[in-house]
C-alpha cells in the first residue's frame, strides 16, 4: 500500500535534459521507478537514458499516461512548471527546486487548491520514496528497506540520517515524504498524517520538524484528536537564535513564533515522544510499538 507513490506510479521528469534532471533520472531508474517520460520545451523527440522527451507535459501525459511529476527546473521557471503539470492533470507533483520566490508559491499553491486536483509536494524538498517500490526525487535509494514506518520531514539530508538510523536498527519504511523547507509548501504535516493513519502498511510515524512557522503545533493538535497510530517526533534547531534564517527559507524564529521549544512542548502534550538526537529515534519507535501491541 504505502502512500502517494507506489510500484504502479508512472513518473514524468520535468527538466530531464538538465544536469540534475538527468543524474537523478538515472538514479530513479536504477531504483526501479517507472520513469515513463521527460519534458524539456524545445527538446521533444529526443531520448534520455531510453526515456522519451516531450515538449509539453500535456503531450507527455497523453502519450505515456504519466500521473506523477518530478520537477528539476531552475527556480525562475519552476512555478510555471508546477502549473503546467497541474493543468495537464498530474496527480502528484514533486518539486525539488530550491529558491523559488515566496510570492510565486503563494499564487501557485492557492491556484492548485482552488482549481485543480493535484497534490504538490515541496518545493525545496528531497521528494518521496516508497521503499522497495518507487523513488521520486533525490533521496539516496540504498538507505531504504521496505517496512512499516512512515516518515514525514521538512528536511532533506536530515531525513537520510534518520532513515539510515531506522534501517540500521531493523525498522523498514513504508513511505518517506520530504515536504520541504520553504515557508509556503504544497503539502504540510497536516496533509500527510491522515494518509499514514489510513495506510494499512504504516504502523508508526516519525515526524521530523524544525524551527519556523507553526505547522508542528497544528500537527500536534491533529495528532491529539485524530491519530490512533503512534507518532515519534524530532525537532532540529533547538539552539538556533531568533531572527536568523537557518539555511531553509522557512527556518526562522520571528515575532516570537516558531521556536523549537514551542514545537517540542506542543508535540509532547499531544503524547508524541520527542527524540533529543536522531540516534534516539529507533529506540523511541521500538518503545511506542511495543506499548501499542501490549
Amino acid at each position: 500500500m504505502a502512500i502517494l507513490v507506489n510500484a504502479n506510479s508512472k513518473v514524468l521528469v520535468q527538466g530531464i535534459t538538465g544536469r540534475e534532471g538527468e543524474f537523478h533520472t538515472r538514479q530513479m531508474l536504477e531504483y526501479g521507478t517507472k520513469v515513463v517520460a521527460g519534458v524539456t520545451p524545445g527538446k521533444g523527440g529526443q531520448q534520455i537514458l531510453g526515456v522519451p522527451v516531450y515538449d509539453t507535459v500535456k503531450q507527455a501525459v497523453a502519450e505515456t499516461g504519466a500521473n506523477v511529476s518530478c520537477i528539476f527546473v531552475p527556480a525562475p521557471f519552476a512555478p510555471d512548471a508546477i502549473l503546467e503539470a497541474a493543468d495537464a492533470g498530474i496527480e502528484v507533483i514533486v518539486c525539488i527546486t530550491e529558491g523559488i520566490p515566496v510570492q510565486d508559491m503563494i499564487r501557485v499553491v492557492n491556484y492548485l487548491k482552488r482549481c485543480t486536483q493535484s497534490r504538490l509536494i515541496g518545493p525545496n524538498c528531497p521528494g518521496i520514496t516508497t521503499a522497495g517500490e518507487c523513488k521520486v526525487g533525490i533521496m539516496p535509494g540504498n538507505l531504504f528497506r521496505k517496512g512499516n514506518i512512515g516518515l514525514v520531514s521538512r528536511s532533506g539530508t536530515l531525513t537520510y540520517e534518520i532513515v539510515h538510523e531506522l534501517t540500521r536498527a531493523g525498522f523498514g519504511q513504508s513511505t518517506c515524504v520530504g515536504i520541504g523547507g520553504d515557508p509556503i509548501i504544497g503539502t504540510t504535516f497536516m496533509d500527510v498524517l491522515p494518509m499514514f493513519e489510513a495506510d494499512p502498511q504504516t504502523e508508526a510515524i516519525v515526524l521530523v520538524g524544525e524551527i519556523g512557522g507553526s505547522d508542528e503545533e497544528i500537527a500536534a493538535e491533529y495528532i491529539k484528536h485524530h491519530m490512533t497510530k503512534p507518532v515519534i517526533g524530532f525537532i532540529s534547531g533547538r539552539t538556533a537564535p531568533p531572527g536568523k534564517r537557518m539555511g531553509h527559507a522557512g527556518a526562522i524564529i520571528s515575532g516570537g513564533k516558531g521556536s523549537a521549544q514551542s514545537k517540542v512542548q506542543a508535540l509532547s502534550e499531544a503524547g508524541v515522544p520527542i527524540a533529543d538526537t536522531p540516534a534516539e529515534i529507533p529506540q523511541l519507535v521500538r518503545a511506542r510499538l511495543r506499548s501499542c501491541l501490549g
Binding site: 491556484y111 532533506g156 507553526s214 539552539t239 539555511g247
Partner: protein, 386 residues
C-alpha cells in the same frame, strides 16, 4: 534582506504614498545643505537596521541647519545600542526629513501568513510601537485580513479591516489608498514584510508615512536587480556579509567550534548536537546540495575568518553531494591555508567510502556518526584550551 528606512520610503514614495520630504547623507555638510533646502525644522534619523533606534538616541530634532549639522557630527560613526540589539550598530548614514506634527499614530503592515498560505494585511490604531508588543498587550486592537492572490486586495476588504480595527469613519476613505499602495509596493518588490509604523495623522489632518520597514525575499533578488544592489548594506556581521556575497548560507553563532554540513536541517541538527555534547558552536554553514570541492574550500575559508574558531566539524550525509568531492575540498583547504586546528570529518551516503579513502594518511580525524563526531570535536577543542 532588510531595507533601510530611506530605501523603503523611496519605494513607497514611488507608488504614490505620502512620505515626508527628505534626503539621506553620510556627511555633516550634507545634512546642513539638506536642512537649508528644506527650510524648516528637521528630524534626523540614523539609518541602522535595529529595533529601539529612537530610545538609543538615533532620532533627533533640529531647529536650524547649524543644529542639524552639530547633531550629525556627534551621531555619525557612533555605535547605537538598544535592548533589542545589545551589540549595537555604527551609524554610517542619516535620513534628514521635514519634521511633522503628529496627532495620532497608526500601524499598517503586510506579511506572509504561512498558515493561510496567503499575504495578510494588518492594521491597528496603536502605531509607533512594535506590533508584537501590541499583539501581546492589546490583541484585540489588531485587525487582520488575508489577501486572495488571484484577486488582489479589494476595496471592501480594505474597508472591512479598517472598520474591524475601530478606525473613525472619516479616516476610512483616506486610509484605504495607503493600504492599496503598500500592497502594490510589497508585491512589486517581492517583499515578505512591509510595514508603515507609524502611519502618522498630522495635526492638520494629513496622513504621512512617518517610518517604514521592508524585508525583501532573498529568493527573488534575481529579478529585483535594483534592490539587490542594497544587499551588502543589509548584513549585520562582516563574515555574514562576505558569505552572502559568495552565496553561502552562513550564520554566526558566537562559539568556538566551526560547523559545516550539507542541508539546512542536518546542519541545524549538528549545531544542536555540538551544544548537547557541551561545545559552543561558532556558526551554521550549509554547503547546499551537490557542492563541488571549490565550494567546500571556500566554506572552510569563511568559517576560519572567525578568529574564535578552535576546531572544525564536517558533517556530510551525501545525497546529491558526493563524499569524495567534499574530502577533496577539505584537502585543498589544508593545502592553501595554514590550518592548525583539529578537523573532525563525518562522511556518510553517496561516495562516502571514496571520500574516506582520500582522507587516510592526512591529519583529518574521521568519525562514523554525527554524535561521535560532535563528542570528538568538543573534547579536542576542550583539550587544546587547557
Amino acid at each position: 534582506m532588510k531595507l533601510h528606512e530611506y530605501q523603503a520610503k523611496q519605494i513607497l514614495h514611488d507608488v504614490g504614498l505620502p512620505v515626508p520630504q527628505g534626503e539621506v547623507t553620510s556627511s555633516p555638510e550634507g545634512v546642513r545643505a539638506i536642512a537649508e533646502r528644506l527650510g524648516r525644522r528637521v528630524v534626523i534619523k540614523a539609518q541602522v537596521l535595529m529595533g529601539g533606534r529612537g530610545k538609543a538616541g538615533g532620532i533627533q530634532l533640529a531647529n536650524t541647519p547649524d543644529e542639524a549639522e552639530q547633531i550629525v557630527r556627534n551621531l555619525l560613526g557612533k555605535r547605537l545600542i538598544s535592548p533589542q540589539n545589545p551589540q549595537g550598530m555604527v551609524v554610517e548614514k542619516v535620513l534628514v526629513e521635514e519634521a511633522i506634527d503628529i496627532a495620532k499614530e497608526f500601524y499598517i503592515g503586510i506579511t506572509v501568513d504561512r498558515t493561510s498560505q496567503r499575504n495578510a494585511l494588518m492594521v491597528s490604531q496603536y502605531g509607533g510601537m512594535d506590533i508584537e508588543e501590541v499583539a501581546a498587550t492589546h490583541p484585540d486592537a489588531i485587525a487582520t485580513v488575508d489577501i486572495d492572490p488571484c484577486i488582489g486586495l479589494t476595496d471592501y476588504k480594505a474597508r472591512e479591516v479598517l472598520y474591524a480595527a475601530g478606525f473613525d469613519s472619516a479616516l476610512i476613505r483616506p486610509l484605504a489608498p495607503i493600504l492599496h499602495g503598500l500592497y502594490r509596493a510589497y508585491l512589486a518588490c517581492d517583499a515578505n514584510l512591509a510595514e508603515i509604523n507609524p502611519c502618522a495623522l498630522t495635526t492638520d489632518g494629513q496622513l504621512m508615512v512617518a517610518d517604514a520597514k521592508m524585508t525583501i525575499d532573498d529568493n527573488a533578488l534575481f529579478r529585483q536587480k535594483r534592490l539587490a544592489a542594497y544587499r551588502e548594506e543589509s548584513a549585520e556581521d562582516p563574515i555574514e556579509a562576505e558569505a552572502q556575497q559568495r552565496g553561502v548560507a552562513y550564520v554566526r553563532l558566537g562559539g568556538n567550534i566551526g560547523i559545516i554540513g550539507n542541508g539546512a536541517g542536518l546542519v541545524m541538527c549538528t549545531v544542536d548536537e555540538v551544544a548537547r555534547a557541551g561545545g559552543k558552536p561558532a556558526n551554521f554553514l550549509d554547503i547546499g546540495g551537490g557542492a563541488k570541492a571549490e565550494q567546500v574550500r571556500q566554506a572552510v575559508e569563511i568559517v576560519l575568518m572567525d578568529p574564535n574558531v578552535k576546531g572544525l566539524l564536517f558533517n556530510i550525509f551525501g545525497g546529491i553531494t558526493r563524499g569524495d568531492e567534499v574530502a577533496q575540498g577539505i584537502l585543498d583547504a589544508l593545502q592553501t591555508m595554514d590550518i592548525r586546528i583539529p578537523i573532525v570529518v563525518r562522511l556518510a551516503g553517496t561516495h562516502a567510502e571514496e571520500g574516506l579513502a582520500l582522507l587516510r594518511g592526512t591529519p583529518l580525524i574521521p568519525a562514523e556518526t554525527m554524535q561521535e563526531a560532535a563528542r570528538r570535536i568538543v573534547s579536542l577543542v576542550q583539550a587544546s584550551a587547557t
